[in-house]
C-alpha cells in the first residue's frame, strides 16, 4: 500500500470514527435482544463525541489534501467537521424524546444519522467534484430515508417522495453541470479548474457554457441549502418529516451545503489576487451577481411566504429559507470577512433553530399538533416552554442581545464594507418583515387563551436539552471574543491542488 495513503489516514480519524460507529450501531442493533434502545443510543453518542474530540487536534495540523487530492484538511474543513458533528449530536439527543420517533425502533435511525453525518463531513471538505457529488448523494440518500422514517404515516411518506424527487433532479442537474465543467477544463479538481479557467479555458464562445455549468452546479448546492428557486421541497418536507429530522435538515445539511458552496466557488471559480482572503471572479463568469440575485429572492420570498403560515413547522421552514438568503449574503462579498460572517451566522443559527424545534417537539408530545392555534395559552400551561420559545423567536428575529443579532450584524457589516450598503438595507428590511411572524408566535403563546388549560409537564431530560440550546442563544455575547477568534482562525481554505 502506498505509504502516503497510510499517512493520510492519520488525518482522517474523525471520519473513521463515524464510519466505525455506524458499523457498530448496526451490529449492536441486530445482535442484542434486550436493551437495544439504550445501547444503540449510547454507542452513537459516544461515537459522535469521539469524532468531535478527534477533529479538535486537526485544527492545528498542516493543511493539505488527502487521498490523491480528494478531500482537503484545512481549518475551514475542521471547523465544519466539528460543527456538523455537534449538530448531529444535539439532534441525536432530541430524537428519543420525540413522541413521533420514540414509538419506533431507533437503531436504524441512528445509523442513518451517522451516515448523513459522514457524508456531510466529506462534503464540507471535498476539493474534487467527484467527491462533492458522492458525498452530496450520501447525505441526500440518508436523509430521504430519515424523512420517510415513519413508514405507516402518509405525510412522512409523501414528504420523503417529494424530497427524493426534488433532490434527484437537483443533483442530476448538478452532475450534468459538473460534466460540462469537466469538458471545459479536463479535470474535476477545483484548484486545477481554477488554473485552467485562469488560462482562458472558458474564453470566447465557451463562456456561455461556463455560465450554464455554474448555474447547474448551483442547483445542487441550492437544493441542499434550500435557496430559491430550489426550495420547493422545503415546506412540505419540513412539515411531513418527523420533527427531529426536520430540525436536523434545517441546520446540518444546510451548513454542509454552504461549506461546499463556499469551497467550490472560492477555490474553483475565483482567484486570489495577492491580498490575503480577497478573491475576484474570472471575467467570463460573474457568479457573485448570480448569487446576489438568488440571495435577495431567497430572503424576500422566504419571509413573505412565512407570514401566512399557521403551522409551526411550515413557518420555520420558510424562516429557514429566509435565513439561507441572509447567509448567502456572506458569499456574495467574496472575502474573508464574508466567510467569517457565514461561520458566525451558522453557529448562532444552530442553537436558536434547533431550540425552536425542540419546543415544537415538546408541545407536540402533549398536544399532538403543530398548529399555531394550539399554542394559544401556552403561557399558563408551561411558562418554561413559553419563555424558551420566546427567546428563540427573538433570537431568530435578530433582536439584541440574543445570538441571532450578531449573526445578522456580521453579515450586514460584511456587505456594507464591500460597498454593498443597499444590499444590507434589503436584508435589514427583510428582518423587519420577519419580526411579524416570529412575534405572532409570542403573541399567540402569551396573550391569547386557548380552551385547554391543563399543565404541560416537560420531562427533565428535555428540559435540560432546551437549556443546552437556550444558554448559548442568550449567552453567546459573553464568549464573543472567543467566537470571533475561532471563526477568524477558521478562515484557512486550502487552495492548492
Amino acid at each position: 500500500m502506498n505509504p502516503q495513503l497510510l499517512q493520510d489516514l492519520s488525518r482522517f480519524y474523525p471520519e473513521l470514527a463515524v464510519t466505525f460507529t455506524l458499523l457498530l450501531v448496526v451490529t449492536v442493533d441486530i445482535s442484542l435482544t434486550r436493551g437495544r434502545r439504550a445501547a444503540t443510543f449510547l454507542v452513537t453518542a459516544l461515537g459522535l463525541l469521539a469524532a468531535f474530540a478527534l477533529s479538535v487536534p486537526l485544527f492545528w495540523a498542516p493543511a493539505g489534501t488527502l487521498f490523491y487530492g480528494m478531500v482537503a484538511v484545512d481549518r475551514m474543513a475542521v471547523f465544519f467537521k466539528g460543527f456538523l458533528v455537534l449538530s448531529s449530536f444535539l439532534v441525536l439527543l432530541a430524537a428519543p424524546g420525540s413522541r413521533e420517533l420514540s414509538e419506533r425502533q431507533l437503531g436504524e435511525f441512528y445509523a442513518l444519522l451517522l451516515g448523513a453525518t459522514l457524508g456531510m463531513m466529506l462534503l464540507a471538505s471535498s476539493v474534487d467534484l467527484l467527491m462533492v457529488f458522492l458525498s452530496l448523494e450520501m447525505v441526500s440518500v440518508c436523509s430521504y430515508i430519515m424523512v420517510g422514517y415513519l413508514r405507516n404515516d402518509r405525510q412522512s411518506n409523501e414528504a420523503a417522495l417529494k424530497y427524493y424527487l426534488f433532490g434527484a433532479v437537483s443533483t442530476g442537474a448538478m452532475l450534468y453541470g459538473i460534466t460540462l465543467l469537466f469538458g471545459l477544463t479536463g479535470t474535476t479538481k477545483m484548484a486545477l479548474i481554477r488554473d485552467m479557467l485562469a488560462q482562458g479555458a472558458a474564453a470566447g464562445d465557451n463562456s456561455l457554457l461556463l455560465l450554464v455549468s455554474a448555474a447547474l452546479i448551483l442547483a445542487g448546492f441550492g437544493f441542499k441549502t434550500a435557496a430559491v428557486p430550489f426550495h420547493f421541497w422545503c415546506p412540505d418536507v419540513y412539515s411531513g418529516a418527523p420533527t427531529p429530522v426536520t430540525a436536523f435538515l434545517s441546520v446540518a445539511p444546510k451548513a454542509a451545503g454552504f461549506a461546499a458552496l463556499v469551497r467550490f466557488f472560492f477555490t474553483g471559480m475565483s482567484e486570489t489576487r495577492g491580498l490575503f482572503l480577497q478573491w475576484s471572479t474570472f471575467s467570463p463568469l460573474n457568479w457573485t451577481l448570480l448569487i446576489l440575485i438568488l440571495s435577495i429572492i431567497t430572503m424576500t420570498l422566504g419571509n413573505i411566504a412565512a407570514l401566512r403560515q399557521d403551522n409551526m413547522k411550515r413557518m420555520l421552514a420558510y424562516s429557514s429559507i429566509a435565513h439561507a438568503g441572509y447567509i448567502l449574503m456572506g458569499v456574495v462579498v467574496l472575502n474573508g470577512e464574508g466567510i467569517q460572517a457565514i461561520l458566525i451566522y451558522l453557529i448562532t443559527y444552530l442553537f436558536m433553530n434547533l431550540g425552536a424545534f425542540l419546543v415544537v417537539i415538546e408541545v407536540y408530545n402533549r398536544t399532538g399538533s403543530f398548529d399555531l392555534k394550539d399554542y394559544r395559552g401556552l403561557w399558563r400551561r408551561s411558562p418554561f416552554l413559553t419563555v424558551s420559545m420566546a427567546i428563540f423567536m427573538l433570537s431568530l428575529m435578530g433582536i439584541p442581545p440574543f445570538a441571532g443579532f450578531f449573526g445578522k450584524l456580521f453579515v450586514f457589516a460584511a456587505a456594507v464594507n464591500r460597498n454593498l450598503a443597499w444590499f444590507a438595507v434589503i436584508g435589514a428590511l427583510n428582518s423587519v418583515v420577519a419580526v411579524y411572524y416570529y412575534a405572532r408566535v409570542i403573541k399567540t403563546m402569551i396573550i391569547e387563551s386557548g380552551e385547554d388549560e391543563s399543565l404541560i409537564s416537560v420531562p427533565l431530560a428535555s428540559q435540560a436539552l432546551v437549556w443546552v440550546m437556550m444558554i448559548p442563544t442568550v449567552g453567546l455575547v459573553v464568549v464573543w471574543e472567543q467566537i470571533q477568534k475561532l471563526t477568524s482562525q477558521s478562515l484557512r481554505l486550502f487552495l492548492g491542488a
Binding site: 457529488f133 440518500v141 430521504y144 430515508i145 405525510q155 411518506n157 409523501e158 460534466t179 474535476t188
Partner: protein, 101 residues
C-alpha cells in the same frame, strides 16, 4: 465520422427528455425513469469528454461512480414508492397531496 458533437447532442437530448419526464409524468415510476435519463445523459457526457478532450480516464471513472450512485438512489426511491403504494394503493403522484399550504 462520429465526433464529440454527436455525443453532446445526444446527451443534451437525453437530459431534456429526462427533465420533461420528471415535469410531466404523473406516475411515480415514470418519473424515476426520467431521473435515470438525466444521470445517464451526464454519464454519456463524462465518457465522451474523457475520450475526446480531457485525454485521461477521470471521466470514465466518474461515470462508474455515477452508475453506482444511480443504483443506490433507485433502490431508495423504489422503497419509498413501494411504501406509498402500500399506503395509498396507487403510485399516482397527484394523490400525494396531503401536504399543502
Amino acid at each position: 465520422m462520429i465526433g464529440l458533437g454527436h455525443y453532446l447532442v445526444i446527451s443534451a437530448v437525453l437530459f431534456s427528455l429526462g427533465i420533461m419526464a420528471v415535469l410531466t409524468r404523473k406516475n411515480a415510476v415514470n418519473v424515476l425513469m426520467g431521473i435515470e435519463l438525466i444521470l445517464n445523459a451526464a454519464n454519456l457526457n463524462l465518457v465522451a469528454f474523457s475520450k475526446f478532450t480531457a485525454g485521461n480516464l477521470n471521466g470514465q471513472i466518474f461515470a462508474v461512480f455515477v452508475i453506482v450512485i444511480a443504483a443506490a438512489e433507485a433502490a431508495v426511491a423504489l422503497a419509498i414508492v413501494l411504501s406509498m403504494y402500500r399506503l395509498l394503493r396507487s403510485v399516482d403522484l397527484d394523490r400525494a397531496d396531503t401536504l399543502k399550504g
